[in-house]
Amino acid sequence: VTENPTDPTEEILADLAGVDTGDAPSADAEEVSPEPAVSRALEALLARTPLPADSQAAVAVDKLLRRGSERRVSVERRKKLMAALDAALAERRRDTGPIQSVLRSRRYSDGTPLSDVAVRIRAELRRVGATLDVDVDTLREIENGGGEILDTSVMRILAAWSVISGLPKAAARRSYSDAVAGLADDAPLRAAAGADIHEDPGGASPAVVAFTAFLDSLFTHETKEN
């Protein structure tokens, strides 16, 4: 039961397991009290009570729960986990820019954080099989009709947003424009945009450029990763 009896956490586990360590009577040697278990009210209070993270008991529990977990992770499983974790880590790297940090605190008109909107857009692109290095023809199919493409990144976003929101393409475009317009007077965002990117020579406000760049970075970054 124990691996190293001189380790205090092993002593705790030995005590818990009812193994006589010589220092104290083993648990099973005690008489079981005839009293009933605690009430639900007390149990509920226990469940709400924060337990210390740095106690020997906590370390012992961590140690116990690592036992029996020596199996090797299969190659397939490892690949799958690596893909998921790589994506999450890539997102962390992306989240370090000034625009991203400002946008994380901003919300879409329905209250959804803009960063969540971006996550949903990216997830939708994945769901429909539009990988981030997707070609324009595939994106046109997603958009269900194509049309003149002014900006690939905006088109990708609109196509995904249309699918997510259930809005027709034109309404999705207006919805997207509303989101961008809502950012136009956002001073911290403008400041971040100014610090991070150049103004669109076509005349779009820094906020518009920032929002587009933020969403676009979801794709360009992962394309580089891939």
Binding site: A53, G68, A123
Partner: protein
Amino acid sequence: MRLRRRRTAVDEAELIARIKAGDKSAASALISVLTTELDEYSRKIGGDLGDFEREVAVENAMTRVVERIDRFDPARATLHTWARSFVRNELNELRRSPREIPTDARELDRPITDPLTDDEPPPSPETTAMAALVLTLSQADQALLRLRVLEKLGFDEIAQYFGPPVRADTMRKRWERVQTKIARLAREDPDLRRYITEEDK
């Protein structure tokens, strides 16, 4: 004699720093440190679900660790304890909506929750008193309390972690003793007395 396998030491603080920085090498380290432990844990507490669902739960939990690492507070939990809380959360999500989760669409609608830090009410006099009470228990009793209350493990599962000859009955009896101690101590505490009902007396 038990032969101990050599483990590759991974410094937890360094690993956390690498995750925070989005360091690509953190993925491999995380898999080495957490996967088999979380797999085993999900098998223990997710026996009502299938292998596939449990794998998804662990995968999602590990992703959450990366996503939420800024919220990790070593004063409140170890990385392992924190990661297990995400496994519990993911398994509960799967139980609630089993058909919606195991795809990439998990990102679409689900809020990211951190069961150990989100929506935690500020400490009340009662929880403060109970925390102090818990500290008066033996370390072994505190360990059992964690296994039962925090990790949500049944007696059979705890016994399985120990392996033979430890039996579920041993754990059950010990738990009854712990509960009795808690009830007795709570009766003596002015902040906790009202939680004692007739069944505790």
